[in-house]
Amino acid sequence: MRRRLLLTAVLVGAILPFLPLLLWSFAERWFYPALFPEGWGLRAWSYLVDTAGRQIIDGLVASFTLALATTALSLLLGIPAGRALGLYDFAGKRLLSLLLLLPIIVPPLAVAMGLHRWFLQLGLAETFFGVVLIHLSVCLPYTIFVLQGVFRDYNPDFEAQARSLGAGPLAVFWRVTLPLTLPGIAVAALFSFLLSWSQYLSTLIIGGGRTLTLPILLFALIDSGDRPVAAAVSLLFVLPALLALLAGAQALGRGNIEGVR
């Protein structure tokens, strides 16, 4: 009984918000005060596939490459940082933890505006790498935060044991550290991917309209007032995030969290 209640709550909480979007994307005419659309059609979807198809695919590709690049860099920096913060005690550790969280405490608009000036001087504004960097300023704190927790419960003796059994530093990382921390790393990667995927303001400011990610297109369409099309793009926007989430949950479900106590 309790389980069914929980399931219902999850379904209502997770699925219900998408219902209006679904309705809107198939609506031809829907005016106040009608509860449901008065005319149905595939205009929005055909617009998405035919008229704006090229743009949407470019947006998808841009968003995807950005999110992937950001996630990769985020893990590359976050794993050593999370490990250092999680495993070792050193002077200034608390201050450092606080500084690392600063980019997400300070309003993102302030961060993006501040960095924009600086990026202009460095020639990073309106470049792919510049946008990756600004996404990183949001993703990295979360990544480090998650990985710090992972490594706090990690037993580095596993690595020492592997070395004594003849594994070199690289083999230790690939064959011991990574498999042991994979569930945590999957969570961190997922966070990073989804955060980057849903960035709008920072992409707009640093990308200067040259990096057309899906959220940028989405806002433009919403602005144009064409609600069915905006709804269809929104659904398209959610889909990869949903897939990433499912893949992440899968990686977690495989969980052998022996090394992580």
Binding site: F158, S164, G166, A171, P179
Partner: protein, 345 residues
Amino acid sequence: MGELELRRLTVSYGERPVVAGLDLRVADGEIVALLGPSGAGKSTILKAVAGLLPASVGEIRINHQLVNQLPAERRDAVLLFQKPLLFPFLDVAGNIAFGLKMAGIGGRQAAARIAAIMAITGLDGLARRRVHQLSGGQQQRVALARGLVLAPSILLLDEPLSSLDAELRQQMRELIGRVQRETGTTMLFVTHDQSEAFAVSDRVALLLAGSLRQTGSAEELFYHPADREVARFFGGGNFIDGRIVGGTFAGASLRCPTARSDCATATAVIRPEELRLVESGGDNCLDGVVETVSFEGANSRLQIATAAGTFTLLAVRPEGRVGQPVVLHFPPERLHIFPCPEGGR
């Protein structure tokens, strides 16, 4: 074939030396127990030998070859930690194969070696088992097999029995002994438990506060401790101060012959279980009063105050009561006299 030699080995954590000036030799096929209280630096020595901690001073030689600069993965010594540390993402056979894979040994050769070592360690039929499905004793045996399969020159064991319960510990003790006989692997084995050290090893090295105090057979350390601290470690704290003149130790009205040369400040020691309560006084006896009696099961511990200090006696049965006057007999052949301290002649 495996020989280990440590010369003046000093290992430090930061500035603080944990182990200082250690000299130790483990001969081929020998099993040496490194015994000491927790915090004495035993594990530090093993880690240094395995290459997981740098030696700040001194030499580590495996088969006469200096290995100080060799990284852990290339040293012909395998360290087994206190916990089994089995990789949870591999099954039993996968765990045992780990080191072989690192050494580039695979296929039929690896399979044969794994099968052989699993037979020796009593793991037959468990090859495809997930490690979390194993009992504590089985996990420890997989860990042992994972080290042994590499046939290292030296196997270093860091308290491999301390995480097991009493019965498993006994089984594992016997297994280590049997494996050692069957494979002839040289082993350096760390423990804080003296009975474990005595039962498993050929020789015992006692480590107190970061330095090696005495090395020898179990009986030597137990009955002929080198100094007061060693005697205390093995539970023998009955000291009698005296002097040696002309081949006789004399102190507190006790006398016993000794082969040691003259010494003005000699100390004799006697184990608590060697002291006797007798009916009436005679040679080598002291009058005393029972201070405390505590029943400890297999024996009872009595504290007896005498003119020459308080002595501890272990009796098989609880005899005497508090406040009772008694006569304490010191069998002279049971007295052990420490070497004369520097400047004591």
